[in-house]
């Protein structure tokens, strides 16, 4: 490779004027105007460099060319200065790679002036593709003629290329030669010509294709029909329904492959004067069942007033009603007339899973309030995806009347159906149901109780928080208590940010005689994490109940800042109880990392201390996991050193990658140095790949 030629003058010139504004100022800044003469001069310099360009050489001129072209695009005077230079370039002995770039630009700015040189290039060995980059896009009859002239060449590859360009340009003057080529013995040429005639379309092309239909060899037959359909579609776009209808009908009658048959059918549907319902019904009756799904697609084109649900009655005698596809289509377009049939299929326990699923799904769009109970029943009795689908349809069933049905259903139904209805109140945002839900938090059925508590978490307002705390105190099982903890916490989060979110819970601590309830309340205080509550929790750290103590440690561990750091550190330093030690150590690490105010240096110091307090491999791993979240060079260095410990190597490798991903932005050099060291130490392909990705990004 030869060294890249420099365009430093151009670069400095253009960049000075245009580029430097990108991220420092608004995008509306207008570049300083450059005169056409200046543009010509600069373009000349770039083209001089471009003349020697090849694919494996520097393309440092490209940004300059693009910036300069921006000026050309908006300055007609500059265009007239630049185009002759490009023409001259194409006539020169510049390399093909450079000419390719110039032709791309001429494709955007070129005029009739460029056509002669492009015509020459078109027939030059190996340059047709390059010439067409411009010629295909230059508007006007001169370019059309240049392409047409080449059609007579005895060069199949060139002919096909030109045919495709004529088709893209929709050159009507090409219809006659293309019609001749359509009858060529060369099948590739014939196929290209047929396709091009379809693209150009119009009355003449349509007639010529029609004339050829009967005589076309079997290998071309479907291509001709396809091209004729394209002509019909274009007639439709131009408002000529009559000619379009003729083609659609004839192609349909020719019994083509299903894709073409569908195209013809859809065209017939749009051009037919027959009642749309009857059209669909009659075709369903006449056509092979395999084609029915295509016919049903026509439903998507119906007006709102059209109802297709009666089709089930009108086809009752048929062996093959495409139920599945009708359910899906009619539900999608919101055709409520299919409702009865959908319900019947569910009540009759339709055996086919796909049909049943389509029916359930349909109710989300076309269901009625009374369907809520049916859906709840299905959700209660079904399993897997069907259960989930029934739930989703229940949640999406519209209207306030549906909500009324659900409320009355909760009272009237029992067991799992009641539980599903209760569950839906939360998902449907039925806040008017909260009173009712409280009633069912003491239902004998544990599922009903669980769902009631869960829904209350979504719906209850802070004003009734104390009622929810009472529910927590009355729960019998750990599962319910945990659900109540989540619900109470969710409700506290609905309070304004300056409200005392934990007041009610702290107020309830004194009334909690059951240690498990007490632990739950402590858990919630931990979730809220209000600094003023730390002293309250510290009191309970001295509790004689181990469960309460552990709850306090967990609550402190989940704190959103480093407020309880010293408590946890102290505990980890002093306790002989291994379980409490590990919990406290984990909490110590967690609160350090959670703190937004602490610097990375301080965090690292604390994590380093946590490492020193660790007494088992499991604890070391907890600390290393925490270390990996600190984006500092000290953390990276520690992680690298930990690679030497075989027991911790895996965790250390993961930490190195994670830390390096963070430090690579601010400390690319230091990170690179460390990562290169690590690559020499490790033998883990996945980690190596990840490190290389970071290094690639840095470099």
């Amino acid at each position: 490779m030869t060294p890249a030629l420099s365009t430093s003058l151009t670069k400095s010139f253009i960049q000075l004027v245009l580029v430097s504004f990108l991220y420092t100022t608004g995008i509306n800044l207008q570049a300083q105007a450059i005169s056409a003469a200046e543009i010509r001069t600069e373009m000349g310099k770039i083209l001089d460099v471009l003349a020697a360009y090849d694919y494996d050489k520097s393309r440092s001129w490209l940004p300059d060319l693009q910036h300069l072209m921006m000026e050309v695009y908006k300055n007609p005077e500059a265009l007239s200065e630049v185009e002759p230079l490009m023409i001259e370039f194409l006539q020169s002995d510049a390399r093909a790679a450079g000419k390719q770039y110039v032709c791309r630009e001429l494709g955007v700015i070129g005029t009739a002036l460029s056509v002669p040189v492009l015509s020459e290039l078109l027939v030059a060995p190996g340059m047709a593709g390059t010439a067409l980059l411009a010629l295909e896009k230059i508007p006007g009859a001169q370019a059309d003629q240049a392409l047409l002239k080449v059609l007579v060449e005895e060069d199949e590859v060139l002919q096909i290329a030109v045919i495709n360009s004529l088709a893209a340009r929709q050159v009507t003057a090409a219809i006659i030669p293309l019609t001749r080529l359509m009858r060529s013995d060369n099948e590739k040429l014939a196929l290209s010509a047929i396709s091009a005639l379809g693209s150009i379309a119009g009355a003449e092309a349509a007639k010529n294709l029609y004339d050829f239909s009967d005589e076309a060899p079997a290998s071309l037959k479907w291509a001709v029909l396809d091209a004729r359909l394209k002509c019909a579609d274009r007639f439709m776009e131009g408002g000529d329904k009559k000619n379009a209808a003729i083609i659609y009908e004839k192609v349909y009658q020719a019994d083509p492959p299903e894709t073409l048959k569908y195209n013809a059918l859809a065209g017939k549907f749009k051009t037919s004067s027959e009642d749309p319902y009857n059209f669909i019904l009659n075709h369903l009756r006449q056509e092979d069942p395999e084609f029915h799904p295509y016919i049903i697609q026509l439903a998507y084109q119906l007006d709102d007033g059209q109802k297709l649900g009666r089709i089930f009655d009108d086809m009752r005698e048929s062996q093959n009603i495409p139920t599945l596809h009708l359910f899906a289509a009619l539900a999608s377009i919101g055709d409520f007339s299919v409702h009865q049939e959908v319900i019947a299929s569910l009540v009759d326990r339709e055996e086919e899973e796909d049909v049943r699923m389509a029916a359930i799904r349909a109710l989300a769009s076309i269901g009625e309030p009374s369907d809520a109970l049916l859906l709840a029943e299905l959700a209660a009795s079904a399993k897997g995806p069907e259960k989930e689908l029934a739930r989703q349809s229940l949640y999406m069933l519209p209207g306030s009347k549906t909500n009324e049905k659900i409320r009355s259903g909760i009272r009237e139904e029992t067991g799992d159906i009641r539980a599903e209805l209760i569950r839906s109140t939360g998902e449907r945002n039925m806040d008017e149901a909260t009173e009712l839900l409280f009633e069912f938090t003491s239902d004998p059925d544990p599922n009903v109780r669980m769902e009631s508590i869960r829904a209350l978490g979504k719906l209850a307002s802070p004003e009734i928080l104390s009622d929810l705390i009472t529910v927590l105190m009355q729960t019998d099982t750990r599962r319910e208590r945990q659900e109540a903890e989540r619900a109470i916490y969710a409700v506290t989060q609905k309070m304004p940010e300056n409200a005392d979110q934990s007041a009610s819970i702290i107020g309830a601590l004194g009334n909690a005689e059951d240690p498990e309830v007490l632990a739950s309340l402590i858990n919630i205080i931990g979730m809220i994490g209000d600094g003023k509550d730390l002293d309250v929790l510290r009191e309970y750290l001295e509790s004689g109940e181990e469960g309460v103590q552990l709850a306090v440690i967990r609550a402190l561990s989940g704190w959103p800042d480093a407020g309880p750091m010293e408590d946890l550190k102290q505990l980890a330093s002093s306790t002989d109880d291994q379980r409490k030690h590990t919990l406290a150590l984990r909490g110590y690490v967690d609160v350090v990392l959670a703190d937004n105010q602490m610097s990375n240096d301080d965090k690292f110091r604390e994590i380093r201390h946590a490492y020193d307090l660790s007494t088992s491999t499991a604890e070391f791993r907890i600390v290393i996991s925490g270390l990996s979240r600190i984006g500092s060079l000290e953390a990276l260095d520690m992680a690298v050193r930990l690679l030497e410990n075989p027991e911790l190597r895996k965790e250390a490798e993961a930490a190195v990658v994670r830390i390096a991903e963070q430090t690579s932005w601010a400390y690319p050099k230091e990170t690179t140095r460390q990562l290169n060291l690590v690559l020499k130490k490790i033998n883990n392909k996945e980690v190596e790949q990840r490190i290389h990705r970071i290094l690639d990004r840095i470099n």
Binding site: Y23, R59, V157, N263, A266, Q319, E352, R428, Q493
Partner: protein, 442 residues
Amino acid sequence: MKIQQNRRHFLKKSIAGTAGALVFPAILPARVFAAPGRTLPNDMINFGLIGVGEMGSGHLRSFIEFDDIRVKAICDVNSEDANLAVEFTNNRYGSQECTAYNDFRDLLARKDIDAVLIAVPDHWHSLIGLEAARQGKHMYYEKPLSLFFRECQAMRQAINRYGVVFQLGTQQRSDERFRFTCELVRNGKLGILEKITIGSASYTPVGIQPEEPIPDWLDYDLWLGPAPLVPYTHLRCTRNFTLIYDHSLGCISGAYGIHHVDIAQWALDADLTGPVEVEGRGSIPEEGLYDTIHTWKAVHTYANGVKLEYLDHISARKQIPQFNIPNSMGILFEGNKGWVYVARGYIDAEPKSLLKTIIGPDEIQLPRSNDHRRNFLDAVRTGSPVICPIETAVRSDTVCHQADIAIRLGQKLHWDPVKEEFINNPTANRMLSRPMRSPWHL
């Protein structure tokens, strides 16, 4: 459920001017009919994969888990990749039923294949999609829809003409966080929406790449297909093709950006339209193989005045506090009552209570899909609409093309979303298409 835009209207509008409907079914070849009045759908969807590189092989591992498809054919111009994927499939099935192909046309010509995955370089997307549609194959189609805008229109016409199911691989619509965010926006939970900011991916440039001998396992001419003829260098034919302008628009489209643009469009209920104005600035690397736009800022304006600021995430994290987190490839929606920032695996909001919002049945609820591939297969089996149909694909792609063209032209552009062209700007309109290398053509 109050659907802001009636689905019937959506579907009708989306097919205006062309034949056909949005999505549909028909696993016809193997359909079985049972008792009178009841159709038994056949058990298996015979499936083919076109492109089993990094993306396609991932799809293979996921699709093969569905028990209602059977992977019958695999195609790749890289014979090593194709053979490995076939071996994996046949080992999994304990049979020899899956066959390898080099040329997608041979796979698509098989009558027994019902549906295909298309996961090839961007410059090939539409041509293979068009042929698949012509052959009546339903398709899960990796994003983006197109390399240049006219391909979008050709694909829309083909899908509508031939009546096959089309799902674009912008799978964030099947992610609960993104759907929830869009529902918050659509239901006015942020107040009046003022601005959307997208942080897309960025990339590391590479130097000049030498010409290399074409490996014997690669059909390089077919790999290039409609792209300009250029010498082989191995980096071109890796996943990084997305960074080369002959093959992709880069991070502004297929290399991530399209995902977030698609979500912005969804949140704005703009699946039948799009921005009406765009301007932008950007840069390409000074040197090397990769020449797609590297850093940029484009500002799109919708007809309702909402601004979409579209940036690479490196720029976004420097400029906007919400992006200064580990996952800075995200979308920020800002209204006069709050904001939501959403990225893959991450969501944040202010006020935080927004995150606890329950969208009730009488509010705007968006279609639910929790598995993008399953959503596609359901559409193939039952005719239910897919979550990323062709019209949304066209409109999301359009936004990416707008940004790319505006940056390259350095001009403020005005777009007519009905005529689908720039207003009074023939130069910009000429950038809506690219000639293809013969014999390939739309």
